[in-house]
Point group: C2
Chain length 208, copies 2
Amino acid sequence: MADDSRVPIPTLTRLATYYKILGEAQVRGVHNLNSAQIEAECGISAAQFRKDLSHFGEMGKPGVGYEVAKLRARIATILHLDRTQRFALIGAGRLGQALAAYPGLNDYSFELTALFDTDKKKIGRRVNGIEIEDADGIPNRMRELNLKIAVLTVPGSEAQKASDAAIKGGARWILNFTPAHVRVPENCMVRDIVFTQEFAVLAHYIEE
Amino acid sequence: MADDSRVPIPTLTRLATYYKILGEAQVRGVHNLNSAQIEAECGISAAQFRKDLSHFGEMGKPGVGYEVAKLRARIATILHLDRTQRFALIGAGRLGQALAAYPGLNDYSFELTALFDTDKKKIGRRVNGIEIEDADGIPNRMRELNLKIAVLTVPGSEAQKASDAAIKGGARWILNFTPAHVRVPENCMVRDIVFTQEFAVLAHYIEE
DNA sequence: CTTTGTGAATGGATTCACAGCA
DNA sequence: TGCTGTGAATCCATTCACAAAG
C-alpha cells in the first residue's frame, strides 16, 4: 500500500467516476463488481482502477472482486463526500443558474447555500429556492454563513473581483468556471474548470 | 522543431489559453509579449509556454519576444479556429441553454446551428435565435445541415441515445457534457467534459 | 481457476539550464 | 545583455505482467 497523503489529481478525478458508477450499481441491486466490469462500465482500464485503489490499501478479494457498498463508502471518505459541503455561488447568469439547479452536485454532497449577483434586477429573485443577494454583501454574508467554498460563474472580467470578495469573506477553496486566471493568497486553493478550451481542443482534430 | 502531426492534448489546451490572452493583448494595443509576460498573465510557466510553441517551429525573436498578432494567427491555424465550426446542441435544459448563449464559444469560432430536445413543450421555442427542434429528427436534420459536431447536454441517462442519433446523422466529433460514458464507433471522437468530478476533487482537499 | 495488488517497465509531460541568436 | 529554442534531466502517470490470495 502506498501513502494516502498525496493522491494524484487524475486518481481523484477517476475516484469520483467510480463513486458514481458504484452508486448506480447499488441502485440496480448489484453487490459485487470486479475491475473488468468497472472498465466495461466507464472505460477506465481495469489495471488503472486497481492502481488507483492501491493508494488506499486493500479493498478487494482476489478471485471475487469488490463489495460495492463498502468500496463506495471508502471512496466517500477519501473524497470527503461523507459530509455536506456548503458553498456560495457567485454569478447568477445562465451558467450560474444551470449549476444552481444541477442535480449532480447533490450526488457529491454539495449544497448551494448562498447566491450572489451584481445585477440589481436579479436581486431578490429565487433560483432553486435560494434568493439572489447583492454581490456587495459577499464578504459579510459568507462570514455570517461560515462559507469556505466559492464557485465563480461570473464573466471572466469580473472573476478576480468576485474571488477577492469571497476571500475577504473567508473563502479558502474556489472553483473557477470563468476563463480568467485568478490570483489568490497562499492558503487558498483554486481549481479551474476550463470547458471553453475543450471546444478549441476538439477543433484541432476536426478535418475538412 | 518537433513534429506538428501529434500535439499533446495538454499543449492544445494551453494553446487555447494563449489564444485568448493574445486576443486580449491585441485589444489593449499590445504588439509584443515575451514568455515571462505570458506567465504573469495566465499562470502557465514561461518554460512551458516556449516548449509548447516549439512543436510548431520558431515563432519568437531572442531578446525581444513574440509578435502578438502573428502568434495569435499561427495558433488559430493550428487549432483550426480560422474556420467556423458549426455544431448541433442536444439537450435544451438549463445547461444547454447556458451553452447556447455562451459568448466564449464564438471566440473559438463555434457556431450553434441546430438545437434539439425531447420535451414537446420546449419544441418551437427559441434560444438565442435558434429554434428548438424535436430530438426525433436529429439524424435527418443533422445530415440535411451537414453537421459533423454534436454537443451533449442531456441527462446522463439519455447520453448514449443522443450520441447514437447524432452519429446516425453523420456526426464524427462529440463533446459530452454529461457524466455518462458514451460508446462510439472507431471513426468518431468523443471528448468528455467532467465538471461535476471537479467538485469531488475539490472536496478531497477541504479540511475541517 | 479467477482476480487482486503491486513492483518493474514504459511512455509522457514538465522543468532545468544553457548554447546561440538578436 | 535579454530572451528564445531545445536537449537533458526530472518528475509523474499508465500499462504490463506476475506472484500471491481466495
